[in-house]
């Protein structure tokens, strides 16, 4: 893992990608800090951190697009997969390298807080909470990028797909208000979700019996409450979106509230995408 990590960091700095990422991040955050904090006399550092989250949309693809894609394209994966390292070591090494670069950018941004400390009212605990949220959000996005990079051997595809997926997470909030909130929509939504899960189960196990059994269980689990207590399906779509939304959970962090469930959510999100990356890398060998 250490070997992969070191090589990845080295590659960030002998190719343009590391500089492009840091440049992009620091330029945009610098502009926002000048205008949003210094010139407008706003001393809320947590507010500043929240305002620069949109930079993730552009910077994450730069950071993650080549992680796995480039190995496949240059055929260096032949070296990696014939060396005595595990697939998880490979994915984690790469993920932590991207994360390290992100943390570097973050440390640079944290140094801006000196200005607030000297000239404004610096609320340390609120800033720490916001910083934790900021880091978790960035780490989650990098996990998405890592996963997408492991599915394609084309860097451009990887970058564009990462951008689009991140954008979808971004617009989840405004999208939510346009969605139907009645009981029927809730039932249809749960049923589609259940079908998707059943399909995933079938793809994983290839067993008809298990899948049919799962379909039966889900059907009962949806039909029974739908008949007995239809009210619980009202507004379900919106709460599901709220639950999934990575950004919604930022609100409590920037407000200075560190909640365990939010931390657990981000960590499981990261774990899930890294797990999928490992599976994808592993699976390519079998095709």
């Amino acid at each position: 893992m250490a070997a992969i990590f070191r090589r990845e960091i080295l590659s960030y700095f002998v190719t343009p990608s590391g500089y492009v990422f840091l440049g992009l991040f620091l330029l945009l955050s610098g502009i926002l800090f000048s205008f949003g904090t210094i010139l407008s006399g706003n001393s809320s550092f947590s507010g500043f951190l929240e305002s620069i989250q949109f930079i993730f949309l552009f910077s994450t693809p730069v950071l993650t697009m080549r992680l796995m894609s480039e190995e496949t394209r240059q055929k260096t994966d032949q070296l990696l997969f014939t060396s005595p390292i595990g697939f998880y070591e490979l994915v984690l090494g790469k993920y932590f390298a991207a994360l390290a670069l992100f943390c570097l950018a973050f440390l640079a941004i944290l140094s801006y807080s000196v200005v607030v400390l000297l000239y404004g009212d610096f609320r340390i605990l609120e800033t720490l909470s916001a910083a934790l949220g900021f880091l978790l959000l960035g780490a989650s996005f990098i996990a998405i990028g890592t996963f997408i990079s492991s599915t394609t051997e084309n860097q451009a595809t990887s970058a564009v797909a990462t951008f689009v997926v991140l954008l979808l997470f971004w617009i989840m909030e405004p999208l939510k208000s346009g969605l139907p909130q009645d009981v029927n929509a809730g039932i249809v939504f749960s049923a589609s979700l259940a079908l998707l899960l059943c399909y995933a189960l079938f793809a994983a196990t290839r067993s008809r019996i298990v899948t049919l059994l799962a379909v039966a269980v889900f059907a009962a689990a949806i039909a029974l409450p739908a008949v007995l207590w239809p009210r619980i399906f009202s507004g379900l779509v919106a709460s599901a979106f709220d639950w999934i939304s990575l950004l919604k959970r930022q609100e409590s962090f920037s407000g200075g509230l560190i909640r365990l469930d939010n931390i657990v959510y981000y960590l499981s999100f990261i774990f899930a995408f890294l797990f999928l990356s490992v599976r994808f890398v592993e699976k390519r060998r079998w095709s």
Partner: protein
């Protein structure tokens, strides 16, 4: 040391490997021959643990490569057809990475890297970025990568492809040197190269092993072991008259004139008999100057073509 049992591989609907079985003992240098798409690279990829087989298994020192990937991968150094290089790194940085990747103890990495650089004659380019190296150097960096962890087994997929004749000789000498205390599998479509380096060849065609022979065995197989080619500094008529007086010749074939004022004949003997002494006596008694005489044993090309053609017909 390497045991391959009933390997089969399907990509989607296409069958890449039908049924490949062979075993290689310690210290052998084995050549893999076959037309493009025969399954050489696929077989090598499976042995090295890069891809998996649909059927069958590979044992390295008795360990299954799928069940014990870490132990078996430590014993193998692999140079794929396209060397797996990070173009943005220098040779030193790259080999330092590989040494760590191969899980060499931290204290041995520097020495292992220096030895690999030395063996592959890369010392003078060690500080250069791989992207700027010539094809020959890149190939050698690939070889250094395969050597660095001192594996018992080396798998080299077309190690001399795209190199100039001098570089080919260098790589070939290196392989011979390495083969003294290692097991080597190498694939190539340059047949003379295989015959110079390998003591045994496996010919693959259509996803099967169609021949498994030692080089000595190849020299003596099939028809034509008693054939001789002569070059005589005389015209065709006189020569063929003289040749027809030599006893024991089954068939005389005129091959053409390859040198001014001379002609070449191929002579097949009855029952594979050695004709050279009779020919010497006949020419010594005549006035026709015999300027060339060689046995016409089938080359690797002949064997290769014959076997793969047979496979194509079947």
């Amino acid at each position: 040391m390497i045991k391959v049992e009933g390997l089969g591989k399907r990509y989607g609907g296409r069958t890449a490997l039908e049924d490949i079985s062979f075993s290689i003992s310690k210290g052998e240098i084995v050549g893999f021959l076959g037309p493009n798409g025969a399954g050489k690279t696929t077989t090598m990829n499976i042995i090295a643990g890069y891809s998996s087989a649909t059927r069958g298994r590979v044992l390295i020192d008795g360990l299954d490569v799928l069940e014990h990937p870490m132990e078996t991968k430590r014993r193998i150094g692999y140079l794929p057809e396209q060397p797996p290089l990070y173009n943005e790194l220098t040779v030193d940085e790259y080999l330092a990475f590989v040494a760590e990747l191969k899980k060499l103890p931290a204290g041995q990495r520097r020495q292992a890297r220096d030895e690999a650089l030395e063996l592959s004659s890369l010392v003078e380019v060690r500080k250069r970025v791989i992207r700027n190296l010539s094809k020959g150097y890149r190939q050698r960096v690939g070889l250094a990568q395969a050597l660095i962890a001192k594996p018992d087994i080396l798998i080299l997929d077309e190690p001399t492809v795209g190199l100039d004749p001098l570089q080919i000789t260098e790589i070939r000498d290196l392989i011979l040197r390495l083969g003294k205390d290692r097991t080597i599998i190498l694939s190539s479509h340059i047949l003379p190269e295989v015959s110079m380096v390998c003591k045994r060849v496996l010919i693959i065609a259509g996803g099967r092993i169609v021949a498994d022979r030692t080089m000595d065995g190849i020299a003596g197989i099939e028809a034509g072991s008693g054939s001789v080619v002569v070059r005589v500094a005389a015209n065709e008529e006189d020569t063929s008259r003289l040749l027809s007086s030599v006893p024991g010749i089954d068939r005389i074939t005129f091959l053409g004139s390859f040198e001014v004022g001379s002609c070449d004949f191929r002579l097949d003997a009855e029952g594979g008999k050695d004709l050279r002494r009779e020919l010497f006596a006949a020419f010594a008694a005549s006035t026709l100057p015999l300027i060339g005489l060689r046995t016409a044993n089938p080359s690797l090309e002949d064997v290769f073509l014959e076997l793969t053609m047979k496979e194509a017909e079947a």
